[in-house]
Symmetry: C2
Subunit: 446 residues, 2 copies
Amino acid sequence: MDHRRPGPLVTVPSTALFTDQYELTMLRAALRAGTAHRRSVFEVFTRRLPEGRRYGVVAGTGRVLDAVTNFRFEPEMLDFLDRNEVVDGPTLDWLADYRFRGTVRGYPEGEVYFPGSPILQVEGTFAECVVLETVVLSILNHDSAVAAAASRMAVAAADRPLMEMGARRTHELSAVAAARAAYVGGFSTTSNLAAGYRYGIPTVGTSAHAFTLLHDTERHAFTAQVDSLGRGTTLLVDTYDVAEAVRTAVEVAGPELGAVRIDSGDLLMVAHQVRRQLDELGAQETRIVVTSDLDEYAIASLAAAPVDAYGVGTQLVTGSGHPTCSMVYKLVARAEGEGPDAPMRPVAKKSLGGKLSVAGVKWAARPTDPEGYAEAEVIGTGEVPAELADRRLGVELVRNGEPVGRESLDAARERHVRARAGLPLSATQLSRGEPVLPTRYLTPTA
Amino acid sequence: MDHRRPGPLVTVPSTALFTDQYELTMLRAALRAGTAHRRSVFEVFTRRLPEGRRYGVVAGTGRVLDAVTNFRFEPEMLDFLDRNEVVDGPTLDWLADYRFRGTVRGYPEGEVYFPGSPILQVEGTFAECVVLETVVLSILNHDSAVAAAASRMAVAAADRPLMEMGARRTHELSAVAAARAAYVGGFSTTSNLAAGYRYGIPTVGTSAHAFTLLHDTERHAFTAQVDSLGRGTTLLVDTYDVAEAVRTAVEVAGPELGAVRIDSGDLLMVAHQVRRQLDELGAQETRIVVTSDLDEYAIASLAAAPVDAYGVGTQLVTGSGHPTCSMVYKLVARAEGEGPDAPMRPVAKKSLGGKLSVAGVKWAARPTDPEGYAEAEVIGTGEVPAELADRRLGVELVRNGEPVGRESLDAARERHVRARAGLPLSATQLSRGEPVLPTRYLTPTA
């Protein structure tokens, strides 16, 4: 990816209004009550994985760092909040100077997670942390859902490359984040030019049915494409009759034809027919690319077929049945008073029949069995037991408001491969099941 | 909404890279082949509704107009395309001057649609139309999916207001579009400040569990909130014990307390208990707001419960099981030659076993039965039969590159109410079923 300099595609001058109104009304009330500056820790975690999934994949961490850095209230935003009486004068004054000066720790991008894993921990005053809730969750819930689907597809595809092609099936900016998350989860390329521009992800794409239909004949279209894009291009062969198109394609491009793409029909059967035909025509090196509503199961079902690459759209960007994660952002500890040295107290919602949380700032560790496979997600409060000290999972991401956890997307992508390889082998079964690691809580003995 | 002046939250200097690479490589090859300037018509339609759904809802049309207007290639984007050899020199030159100068017709925002409905028709040269595919589909597929879910929820909620609260469950900019689409589909308000800022949608929100946990006691928290936000505020009563919280809430705010919010537990049972308790405490006017993973079925199940408003998040922004629509953007007609007067030819993909399309530029009309209910979605090519002339569905949206179809969100929202009311009554059944109108194709007799 080094040859592609990422550029700032979309100028988001501020992320400060990607915020649910209640965050600012809470701030307003807490400022007035004098409690807004109590030291606080919020944690991002999930109570469960999507049904049947074996592991989750953390993605979006790098985008969270950008969002926290860009969380500033511009004058026209303050004017909007004032005009609509969302906040009062003192709150406007406070927001005008807002800049996150706290600390963020968390699972690094690409790491796997389980129910209860403290994926992100945001520490600072209540005021400076509470306003980040929505944007942090938006990013992590969306990106992690896509990365989890990508990871399952990458397992199903084994060594065959996966191309992300889902932009048209999701919001135009979700699409850019989805391409990024898919790359973290194991995809190789994207059709999305904005994702190439912004994040340096390699882009691919050649032609659609419209190109064939524009021309007087299929041969005319193929000739036009090969003249312009070269013999290494990918010709789409299912606009009219596949066998005829393959014959024409090889006649036009010769056996150096890069690939043919099949976008409809019984992919398994058609791939075998096309491979046989290509081989008979002497185009043994011409690859076969398939696209058409693929998901991890369809990819797996093509494992024995002569397919060289998969293009995946809808099911990737919609998380293959789970378009969001259920991550929440909860206050788990706060100071008992206003001063910086006031003792911290663990807190949690306790209403019966509701959604329970575990109070206190957590650590997490992932011990391994003698063969080196992870055996549990151990989560605790208080001191980390000595035997788990070198199995801890969190890293520092923001220190005193300054991002310290930036890294390349390739680093996150490689981390994910390692993290998944460290799980018990059943992690990569596509069938529905329980989380592949149990979550074990260790709390200090009283 | 008039008191809220929408502002430009997110500066998207250009939408031109929300584009799949193949659009630009097709352009490159067509420019070289001399076919790029053939007059062409692309249509957006779906082959089916999501399984079990009775109707679709068009949303995002206004955003499409913005996207088409802002589709310009900035110098740094051209540099990116050049550096990565996506296009060649002549294509770069052509893109540098790009500006859509064609015509767009389509279903106006808020209208309902059915399989085959020509939701959008983009006419111009092949070159100027082909590059809009991805961004147009991204917007319509996302926004229409959310609007369809919103419409079903609005039916289930009947006269009770719906609040959109899903920002944290989707990409931060999807969230803004989702709040917009939800408003079109029948929601009243949003928690999303960016949606209020950008689109003038009324925003709501008061407090979360974190606010209660920040304070030394629940009474302390409620007092702080009422002191700052007034007695008309909504107090969240399920952090500890609901009955105790309701008692404290009324003690603190008096019977003028605006509302209480319940966010967990058995909402049906708890709503009845809370209503009884509020009435006994003399707070007959205090409303009950429920939130907690609601979808249209949960909303319907609370129809007989003493609930005054619903807050909906996850299931709304993820389209209640259908997070995207299956809209496609297909070339349906193109000129036989390069000149502006070359005759147009209907075209369609024809590969067997694949995804069939109907060739030709379509019109659509929705005739009604004697009682005034729609009886079919009639789609045809060629002349519109006289008896259908006043039942046509399309409107002009862009003329010679200039948007002419801009309207307020309220206009789209009101149109949706009318369009849904014009469907047979079974349209509003939540249970799975077939599209409530059959699609009938009328093609000219040969």
